[in-house]
């Protein structure tokens, strides 16, 4: 099937592949070990999926904030985002 109309680029393809792998991984994790709602530093009880969503949404805003505030390399924002996601998933 011709996918030219979607104007794919290598970075966006890798980005969506990561998201797809993450969702697949979460599905397998859920089947192997079903999630239990837990209360961490976030102000509400969350499941593992909730925490991933909050982590990803927060990461998007970290990247946008980084772009708006500094001219430094975007890898810095990615590093901060990874730490943020790990914190939310583990302690959120």
């Amino acid at each position: 099937m011709d996918m030219d109309w979607m104007a794919w680029t290598a970075p966006t393809a890798i980005f969506f592949l990561c998201i797809a792998l993450m969702l697949a991984g979460m599905t397998v994790w859920e089947v192997v070990s079903p999630t239990v709602e837990a209360k961490g530093f976030l102000p509400m009880r969350t499941t593992r999926g909730d925490r991933l969503f909050i982590g990803l949404l927060g990461s998007a805003f970290i990247h946008l904030g980084w772009l708006a505030a500094t001219d430094a390399s975007l890898w810095g924002a990615s590093a901060v985002s990874l730490v943020w996601i790990a914190l939310v998933i583990r302690f959120g």
Partner: protein, 291 residues
């Protein structure tokens, strides 16, 4: 008897999954692809990285439109939600001609297409031929939504309240109708005041529909385009130019597809964030009630 675990029911969501993928996920992925490229035409694309996002995030007009949009959406919620609840509380219950008539009257504004609503209010507000504009002039108020920002804002806001409060009222009414009479009888025996009945019976029972009402009204008002476009065209100046209109100018007017795509993603993330915050606050309030 042990509960039978059967995951085959998951197959039933495949049609929905396919429809959502086709109508939402694939277009969104395409927009993400566009947002990192300069688009000159079909097949003429050049990778520019995060350039468009930087341009959008540093765009003063966008900041102004965003502030305007947030104020507008919060004003819409602050007016339409309490007003909708009040109307629902005042509506006749049971099955009667009065109930049917009220429901039909309330549903009328919801049936009118968005561009027609804009046109109705455009004529309604005109000082020469419109009832509202002429009335204001007759009582000495120099009302003119085409050259006064405050008047334009109030008109756009009132138009939205007129168009959409019915939706909130109908949702709340459905919530109120689902309350069993036994609740009211118990409250009467306890000598509960009208406020106590509202606070401890009606409001908690309306929680589900209120979540839907707040989310729908927030998302709709945050993405409003047609009505202000027809009524004021975004003016006077840029005073009623909201995010959608600015986005359309960028994508269709200037054919700046890459920048408009980056703008769309930022816009989408803002809507997602606010919806998540509202949803969390409302569902948490409900958890408190249950405890």
């Amino acid at each position: 008897m042990d509960k039978v675990q059967d995951n085959r029911a998951w197959f039933l969501i495949i049609p929905v999954f396919l429809i959502v993928a086709f109508s939402a996920v694939v277009p969104l992925m395409t927009v993400v692809n566009y947002s990192v490229q300069e688009i000159f035409g079909p097949g003429q694309t050049f990778f520019v990285g995060t350039e468009w996002f930087e341009a959008v995030l540093k765009d003063e007009r966008l900041h102004d439109a965003l502030v305007r949009q947030i104020i507008y959406s919060l004003a819409v919620l602050a007016i339409e939600i309490p007003l909708g609840i009040l109307i629902a509380l005042g509506m006749p219950g049971g099955r009667s001609a009065k109930t049917s008539l009220t429901l039909v009257l309330l549903a009328l504004p919801l049936l009118i297409p968005f561009n027609v609503v804009g046109t109705i209010w455009q004529i309604f507000g005109r000082g020469d031929i419109g009832l509202l504009g002429a009335t204001f002039r007759a009582i000495g108020i120099d009302y003119n939504y085409t050259n006064n920002s405050a008047h334009a804002w109030v008109t756009v806001l009132v138009m939205d309240v007129w168009h959409w409060t019915s939706l909130v009222a109908l949702l709340c009414y459905a919530g109120l109708q689902s309350i069993p009479p036994a609740f009211y009888q118990a409250a009467k025996i306890d000598g509960a005041s009208k406020w106590a009945v509202f606070r401890y019976i009606q409001l908690p029972k309306m929680r589900g529909v209120l979540i839907i009402a707040v989310l729908l009204r927030f998302m709709d008002s945050f993405m409003i385009y047609t009505e202000p476009f027809v009524l004021t065209g975004g003016g006077p100046g840029n005073s009623t130019t909201f995010l959608s209109q600015y986005l359309t100018q960028m994508a269709v007017g200037q054919f700046d597809i890459g920048k408009a795509a980056a703008f769309s993603i930022v816009y989408f993330l803002i809507v997602l964030l606010f919806s998540f915050i509202f949803y969390t606050i409302i569902t948490r309030t409900g958890e408190g009630e249950k405890k």
